[in-house]
């Protein structure tokens, strides 16, 4: 009997003391909470709000009037429809191919540039190369794609002037499905290599100069120094960035692809995000394209966790 009486009383005391504690804490930091209020609202509304909207993926149609919970639930039918559709493999394939070549060709480019720059002894030349190679980074995507379009013009576009050197017929590059991937990847390298080299240059600057002195005494030439000191020296940076890059394999650059693609190139240029845009925003298939977006998001999230785990094991550095 006594015990029964005591227990709720104790809990009661604990509860009131905890409430008191919260009250005190919140009052003590009231201005901080006031500051954080808009921040919390922002994340709730604009980040968690759309996550709530993901429930649409499991519904038949979306009604703006009735809201999300009133719809007809159809389980995974939208996903099934997507997996069985003609587009599924095409979208997966395009996304992976663009990602693969961006990594194989695009990832080493800034590293090579940084290594070349690192060997330059003349300061003004080095800074000139850097300034000029960063420049394309500051051109907006719209303008870069606009440049590509002008260059591929049939009449006197730069690319076709080149082709005419080899007596080749002019080609409308952006309308050729076989040209999409090289144009996309090469223009990415053109725009990003200089800028991407900054971080590797920083890593290079961090290598102990005594190592080079020692190597010189041992008779190592510049090439040997590069192989045995410089490259091992930046390897940790390279590995971390590569793993992070691998974590985003399912992310193609939506902004650029959307601007670059034309109906004749859909076969090679259409990726998940551009398909979601067309099918969802332009054609109004809200629930279906939400399901596709969710599928992509979940795979991305999984890859990122995998990449992070590997990174933590190999380098003991991770995002969280």
């Amino acid at each position: 009997m006594e015990l029964k009486h005591q227990l709720p009383a104790k809990a009661e005391v604990l509860k009131t003391s905890r409430v008191k504690f919260y009250k005190k804490e919140i009052l003590r930091n009231k201005y901080v909470y006031l500051m954080l209020l808009p921040v919390i609202l922002y994340y709730l509304i604009f980040h968690y709000g759309p996550m709530y909207g993901l429930l649409m993926a499991f519904q038949k149609t979306y009604s703006p009037v009735k809201g999300i919970l009133a719809g007809t639930w159809i389980g995974f039918d939208n996903f099934k429809m997507f997996f069985e559709s003609y587009y599924f493999w095409r979208l997966i394939k395009n996304t992976l191919i663009l990602s693969f070549f961006s990594i194989v060709l695009g990832f080493p480019a800034p590293i090579i540039l940084a290594l070349l720059l690192n060997e330059v002894r003349v300061k003004w030349f080095k800074s000139t190369v850097q300034t000029v190679s960063y420049l394309p980074h500051f051109i907006s995507v719209v303008v870069v794609v606009g440049m590509l379009k002008s260059f591929s013009a049939l009449d006197g576009g730069l690319f076709n002037v080149f082709r005419s050197l080899f007596a080749l017929e002019p080609v409308m590059f952006l309308a050729e499905k076989d040209m999409f991937r090289p144009l996309y990847i090469l223009s990415n390298i053109w725009q990003g290599a200089g800028w991407g080299s900054i971080i590797f240059l920083a890593a290079l600057a961090g290598i102990d100069s005594q190592l080079y002195e020692a190597a010189k005494i041992d008779g190592a030439g510049r090439w040997k120094q590069l192989l045995h000191i410089t490259i091992p020296g930046i390897m940790p940076t390279v590995v971390v960035l590569l793993i992070l890059r691998l974590g985003a394999v399912m992310n193609a650059d939506f902004q650029k692809i959307l601007l670059m693609q034309t109906a004749p190139t859909y076969e090679t240029s259409d990726v998940i995000s551009t398909f979601v845009y067309r099918s969802g925003i332009l054609e109004g298939n809200y629930t279906y394209s939400t399901a596709i977006g969710l599928f992509n998001g979940v795979i991305n999230f999984g890859l990122l966790i995998l990449a992070n785990t590997i990174s933590r094991k190999l380098n003991s550095s991770s995002l969280w």
Binding site: Y48, P50, V143, G221
Partner: protein, 289 residues
């Protein structure tokens, strides 16, 4: 130090390769500039690599400067950059200051919830419908508010605030300052470098943004420059190019080249002066990762 023949060859090859990098980076821009001032007919006939302009005209630039869409696009972009960046900085500072307070109750949970949004989100369609339901479609709010905080920049700023000694803030509190006063009069003035970097990054993001305006704006009077550029450069809309002026095909191409120059030159000219801040920013971002 004495150099061997091998070293000389090494250096020569290196210089040649890097000159190639300069040429590849710079040539497309030179080509565009030369094309924009070239005589359209002469340019079509010669089909050269445009190392120098073919003939000369400024007609194309006249069209660009007289184009009311480009002017209003510039003005709108200016608005989005200035007001948007101000909103970004205020909100990011609030978030970074608040969550850098180690003694804040609930801080860990908030950090987890915020970091999670970096890796997972609702995606395009739910976000679009949310903004539509909030009645923000076709208003400037849709450009300014939904991206008010970049979580990545917030993390950078928070790390920076955390390096400010706590004793400074404690003593200010003892003097009766509240957290707003501390943020604006102590923490922010001590973080000028990081503020400069954040300002640049946010401003550039606003300048380059075309996805949000494409999704949420219908009214042409609100279009930023990037949407105007897209219409001129990519959709080749003659209406966007010069308000229904019959420009003819050849000069039409020149107008595109001139448009690229007019919309890119300001940044390219300012950029060498602020380059060091950008590099600083790129490094801060990288180190954190």
């Amino acid at each position: 130090m004495k150099r061997s023949t091998g070293e000389h060859i090494f250096d020569a090859v290196n210089v040649v390769l890097l000159c190639g990098v300069i040429a590849i980076s710079f040539y497309p821009m030179l080509y565009i500039f030369n094309s924009s001032v070239s005589d359209p007919d002469q340019m079509l006939r010669s089909r050269s690599f445009m190392l120098l302009p073919e003939g000369f005209q400024l007609e194309a630039y006249k069209h660009v400067f007289q184009n009311p869409k480009i002017f209003s696009g510039y003005m709108n972009t200016l608005f989005y950059v200035v007001v948007g960046t101000a909103v970004n900085l205020l909100m990011t500072s609030f978030a970074a200051y608040g969550l850098s307070r180690a003694d804040l109750f609930g801080r860990k949970l908030l950090m987890k919830l915020i970091t999670f949004t970096m890796f997972f989100g609702g995606g395009m369609i739910p976000t679009f419908l949310l903004i539509q339901n909030l009645g923000m479609v076709n208003s400037r709010w849709a450009i300014l508010i939904p991206g008010a905080i970049s979580t990545f920049y917030f993390l950078i700023m928070k790390t920076n605030f955390e390096s400010i000694p706590d004793s400074l803030i404690e003593s200010a509190k003892l003097d009766g300052a509240n957290d707003f006063t501390i943020l604006f009069h102590i923490v922010l003035p001590l973080s000028k470098a990081i503020l400069a970097v954040m300002t640049l990054y946010y401003a550039v993001d606003h300048w380059n943004d075309y996805v949000a305006p494409m999704l949420y704006l219908r009214n042409q009077d609100l279009y930023p420059i990037q949407i105007v550029l897209r219409d001129i450069l990519i959709s080749s809309s003659t209406e966007a190019m010069g308000g229904g002026v019959d420009t003819g095909f050849a000069i039409g191409e020149n107008i595109k080249y001139a448009t690229i120059i007019v919309s890119t030159l300001p940044i390219v000219l300012v950029y060498p002066f602020i380059q060091k801040y950008f590099v600083q920013g790129a490094l801060i971002g990288a180190v954190k990762q």
